[in-house]
Amino acid sequence: VEAEMEEQIRKLNAEYGFNLSEDEIKLIVQQAEKTERLLRPLNELDLIDVMPILKVEKKKVKK
């Protein structure tokens, strides 16, 4: 995963012209890994029949 992330960042660096140093690339990889760990539990939920919220719908109001 780490290698994939690093490759992705290097691609973005070249495409966008960020001029990232090696230390910065390592730092972003570390941050991205932390985020990935935070997000992992989202995929462990059973979401069959649950539609994504595309707008926070507010039709229902408590009587």
């Binding site: 972003i28 935070l38 997000l39």
Partner: protein, 486 residues
Amino acid sequence: MKPIDIEAMTIGAVSRQIRGKELSPVELTDLFLQRIKKLNPVLNAYVTVTEERARADAKGAEKEISRGRYRGPLHGIPFSIKDNLVTEGIRTTAGSKVLAEWVPDHDATVVERLRKAGAIILGKANMHEWASGGTTINPYYGTTRNPWDLNRVPGGSSGGSASAVAATLCLGSIGTDNAGSVRNPASFCGTVGLKATYGRVSRFGDVPGTGGFSSDHFGIFSKSISDCATTLQAIAGHDPRDPLSSEHPVGHFSRHIAKSVKGLKFGVLSGYFEDKVATEVKTAIDEAVRLLHSLGMKRVEFSIPHMDLIPAVQTVTSRVENVVHLMPHMKSRPNDFSRPLLHRLIGSLMIPASTYVTAQRVRRTICEEFEKAFDKLDVIVTPTTPITAPTIDECKEGFVEIDGKKIALQPAGVSLGTTFTVPFNVTGLPAVSLCCGFSSSGLPIGLQIVGGNFEESRVFQVAHAYEQAARWFEKRPESPKNGGVR
């Protein structure tokens, strides 16, 4: 004429004087401009002061009122606007270097509505770079300081707005709240800070890239709950220019504000807040809960099964929705972003699309869980922030000491200061922060009161009852002096 105690002013009190022609909008505007001149060099709450236009608008207001054309309670009232709401003919930077010279050709709907109500815009308030942080330590426009302690941050990202209202450099301010950016600085500066239900207030005219389109809200800073209700009345309602604004009817937010809260139920969420709060904050919240109980409200413990997933949902939603807007700037002017922000934005580009969709499915589950909870509750109460305002040095180091333990201010996902506010960006529920006491070092502590969808009136009713019983608004910060700055 009676001597004017500017620090005691509220919109409610001043508007009565303006209506009765006891106070002139021109005189009032001059008073505030003088105060800004004196205190803004210390606080750095404003990035732009629109002195000439404010004076011209005040003269116009005075003329109208003298001819009997009083527009309502905001006529002649001085406001500031966070610098990520577009303002016609006034530079709008979003706290960024990229937009340092940008002068928009139109007003945000909220600004337009405030002007229509007769408010006088004194200028633009400082903010965190691109609204992407909670300190208002801005590398391009300087650090905004907290009027209660000049060595501390005001919170953020709407730190300039909170500092300006707390120090009476205006009587109201409009900010934005993507993760708590109104409520967090309101808590740190001891002001009222509201984000209404998602869609209640138009977001037309926000600077793209300063919040996720489904998590960001415009919000209000004021000195009292009643002032907040008055301001919301002027800015709420459907706007055809914002496709995500709601068509839900706007009621009278102040009508039931003074009604008894006896018999209403307030929910205390178990399993999310207790272990994350500094002792002094916990003590103040416990005291606030006791006071609500003494007013005749009933306490109900409840839980939200997927509460633990909220930081992940918020992180995905706001980062992905936000970075999309900034990609063109990142490509054309990467060196005009601070490096820490650029690093974070690059990280946002690496979140998979499938994770975004999954987060929106989890989000629906969480929204439904809150809706179910509100079947048995009128409001929820929580701390607004787990800590009081950290020092500028602590923010730069990235750590704060809580009860003897060193805690990271910016762990993965949501920052420490927004732990308790993000659930209501994810759900879109209306939430207000108001002062519920002070720490031993004299720093304000915030209480958050949350309502069901479009139940702002209920939020105001409970918050007003608490505010009037606790009377923390009587305590004011001392006028800042240069000597206090290290």
